[in-house]
Symmetry: C2
Subunit: 219 residues, 2 copies
């Protein structure tokens, strides 16, 4: 997919809009994130390198960050907003596999690292501001800033552990228990994403989720 940032031309069929915006502190969340995940401080010089490797971009609600079939050429660090990653099956049913909020990353890792066409769509569920970077920029950063490498190691480990937990939940818990887990661990998701998407994420129908919620209320 062509995100349109580094290209001057809007691709046919895509609903991009450009809005130039920058502010002094818009890279701060990213800096803080890197410091948190690497356990190291970022110097002024490193900070400048990081800034120049990331480009701000805004996405309107419902706008695609990535479409199935395209290669995910960018990783997006979310400054503000909400996105979802999902596939669409033969019957046209959407299956949400990931939610992203502030200070989370969006992008299909497999497609991004392997340069293969993505199976997934990613779109904005709210108006969203992100910082985008490419594989090459990231590679350069990793080579020149040790903290970046550490951050990725930590991220990889945590996301591996998180997905492992999710698999465990999906095979050993009932739909109701999975919902309880989610609302305990990620209450923010329930408030930012519509229930039909939450249901899809949990692997159940919207109707079933509605009934689970009703039952939970009466307790």
């Amino acid at each position: 997919m062509v995100l349109g940032i580094f290209e001057p031309v809007i691709q046919p069929g895509y609903d991009f809009y450009f809005f130039s915006f920058t502010s002094d502190n818009m890279y701060e969340p990213l800096k803080k994130y890197i410091e948190d995940y690497s356990g190291e401080a970022i110097s002024e010089e490193e900070y400048e390198m990081i800034k120049s490797a990331f480009t701000p971009k805004k996405f309107r609600k419902k706008q695609y960050l990535l479409q199935a079939g395209d290669v995910s050429r960018y990783m997006a660090f979310i400054i503000k907003g909400a996105v979802r990653q999902y596939s669409v099956d033969d019957k046209g049913v959407e299956h949400v596999i990931y939610f992203g909020l502030e200070n989370w990353w969006a992008g299909d890792r497999e497609s991004f690292t392997m340069l293969t066409p993505s199976r997934y769509n990613i779109d904005a569920v709210e108006d969203t501001e992100v910082l985008l970077t490419t594989y090459d920029h990231l590679d350069q950063l990793k080579n020149s800033i040790p903290a970046i490498g550490k951050m990725f190691t930590t991220m990889d480990q945590r996301s591996y552990i998180a997905t492992q937990k999710r698999i465990h939940a999906s095979i050993s818990l009932t739909a109701e228990e999975r919902y309880q887990e989610l609302s305990k661990n990620y209450p923010a998701l329930l408030q930012r994403f519509p229930q039909n998407m939450i249901a899809s994420y949990l692997g159940i129908s919207a109707e079933t989720l509605s009934r689970i919620r009703k039952k939970a209320l009466s307790k």
Copy 2:
């Protein structure tokens, strides 16, 4: 958990047996694995370091490599045999979340890196030979051999992608489709592990799997 390798004393309640065995080529699969996953050649000197960081150990069928509640202090590279990783719920039902065969790793990543008690059991489904290493040994290797670091990066990415795919399968495919996927992608698992474990891995009952297989035969 105490695996008993580096300790001279057998822990009460554990069914360990010791059997000293070494051979010239027993580290070869590990070397090849590292070279494959890092894309780099291992020098003779590096090979020696690797050998000294891993200890061979044999596990008998049904023997635990890790018990829930213990910290996973070792990562095991499987030379020969078959293992499974699973949790046990309140009702005593086992839920398999991982299978390991030759040239795969076994060990609870979360417990191993965070030093927290593991939720999972790992046991041998066949008589199994592994190469064990500790966090400290691994850390040292990573610092002195660049290929080891690369190998882990690749492993992390692949396992993340694999778990992502599995989540996708678990929420968007029916039990039958999941079984088809498994038999297409990992036919070896079906031949090495009993059906009740396969069923558990797929998140369905052994009876349901039996019926799915029967239906598949008649096609």
